[in-house]
Symmetry: C2
Subunit: 287 residues, 2 copies
């Protein structure tokens, strides 16, 4: 289990990695940091976010009991392939990846010949900004923490992740399969981003800025998007996301057809159904 002697190494001190480091150090754990740029290490040391840090990936890695990756998913896979020989036995490894398909199985396969356990997690926090300067632990307090264990994971590791999320004050901790997680993410997050981006790209709309109300602003806020991270996440989850996009296109095409044929009854039925379904999400709003 998690205890105060546990030494954490955070690989990648971006927004999430930096926030993990900050939160764990605040709780009294020893936190090491690895980053690509010396300025990031300097910033983290100056702001008391880590205990020690460096940019060289050498035997520094073997000091950790737990390694948490704050890297993009494919960068993490490459890192593990390249440096796994530096990781000591019995180290627990986890991540922050927004998609699990094509990532978790690859890493667990990679570590098959080692006594190192990889258990995948998704802290659903922080999206609009990036960089350690924005690191904060407040964002965890209203966020979900999802653990996505496979048959290769131990109960002990699942419990460790649960304790860590609890320690970091996440609002809600859940366990999902990889398939459940990636389908949930495809619908609740990725499809929403596809919609927002596609709405902004429908046609030039700059002349409409002065008339914009809350509806359009709320729908398109997430159309401001990091193109590198999101294209990677979309491609990793391609099959499920395509299925969700196609189901949505079917849904809006059905509405379009009802309007085209002036089928007022069907339009009203669709409005009533959407209103009822959305009400379930309101209850959560007021929680």
């Amino acid at each position: 289990m998690i205890n105060k002697e546990t030494k954490f190494l955070i690989v990648g001190l971006g927004l999430l990695g930096g926030s993990y480091a900050m939160g764990l150090k605040q709780e009294g754990y020893t936190v090491y940091g690895l980053a690509r740029r010396q300025e990031t290490i300097d910033y983290a040391l100056e702001h008391n976010i880590i205990d020690q840090g460096q940019i060289e990936v050498d035997d520094f890695v073997s000091k950790a009991d737990v390694i948490l990756f704050g890297l993009y998913p494919t960068a993490m896979v490459k890192w593990i392939q390249k440096y796994k020989h530096l990781i000591k036995n019995h180290t627990l490894i986890s991540d922050v990846s927004g998609v699990k398909t094509n990532i978790v199985d690859v890493i667990q396969e990679e570590l098959n010949d080692r006594d190192i356990e990889f258990i995948s997690c998704h802290p659903m926090a922080g999206k609009e900004t990036s960089g350690i300067e924005y690191a904060n632990t407040e964002m965890f307090k209203k966020a979900n923490f999802i653990i996505t264990p496979t048959e290769k994971n131990t109960e002990k590791a699942i419990e460790f992740c649960h304790d860590m999320a609890y320690t970091l004050h996440f609002n809600h901790i859940a366990i999902l399969t990889i398939e459940q997680h990636d389908r949930m993410i495809a619908f609740l997050s990725q499809l929403c981003h596809v919609i927002a981006v596609s709405l902004m790209n429908t046609h030039d709309n700059s002349h409409l800025v002065e008339y914009t109300g809350d509806s359009f602003r709320d729908l398109t806020r997430i159309a401001q998007i990091n193109e590198n991270m999101w294209s990677e996440l979309f491609l990793l989850n391609k099959d499920i996301l395509l299925d969700e996009i196609n189901q949505f296109i079917d849904s809006i095409s059905h509405f379009r057809d009802a309007l085209q044929s002036e089928d007022e009854d069907e339009m009203k039925r669709l409005f009533i159904q959407s209103t009822q379904r959305r009400k379930a999400f309101n209850k959560k709003d007021s929680k």
Copy 2:
């Protein structure tokens, strides 16, 4: 022009009609109210929203210099057809309709044989609630007020609407043609509602409530929708709205195709374009 002797009659004391009445009476004008239910009149009198009110449409109508309709568009057309003989000459009439096509021309045609001017306006305020109990003048302060004059309107009437919107403390007053207005509404408001409704209707999603973050909540808030009002507004603006829906379906289908063919460059181009376009709307946010 508007002056303190101007007597207003509000026909239909719902959220918008009630808020108009409240705001004009607060500014010292005489305000009469017509409603279908006596309870509405009683409420409006008790809460000092109107000076006088009744449910009978008789010569009460002839007391007004200005008549403002807070009715649904098609109900307003029918009202004017039925009761126009009760309106005295030189009365100015205006409305709050969210769509202008198939409404403004019909009413102006109807009044062609009378010395009564109809000038159409759209106060872009208040949507989630309805009923006089929710009437308030605060919502005007961050809202757009659009005047949509035709060639049949006088400069004097346009100026009157402008003064009235100013008196009611609207944030921004603009003049648009009917075509400009209905296209703007189709894209910024109606298409957003079609998207939100269609997203909620994509499939049963009730099991995902506990994982929902801000993205999905923001996109679907307006999926809670008054089926009677919105089906009427959509059908009135059918041709333009269909065009906007089809353009959006083209846009999201194009994104889907890029993902399907793993065209990462095109996906990134679309992300960058949406991010840049959305930034123009941020500036307005911080105004």
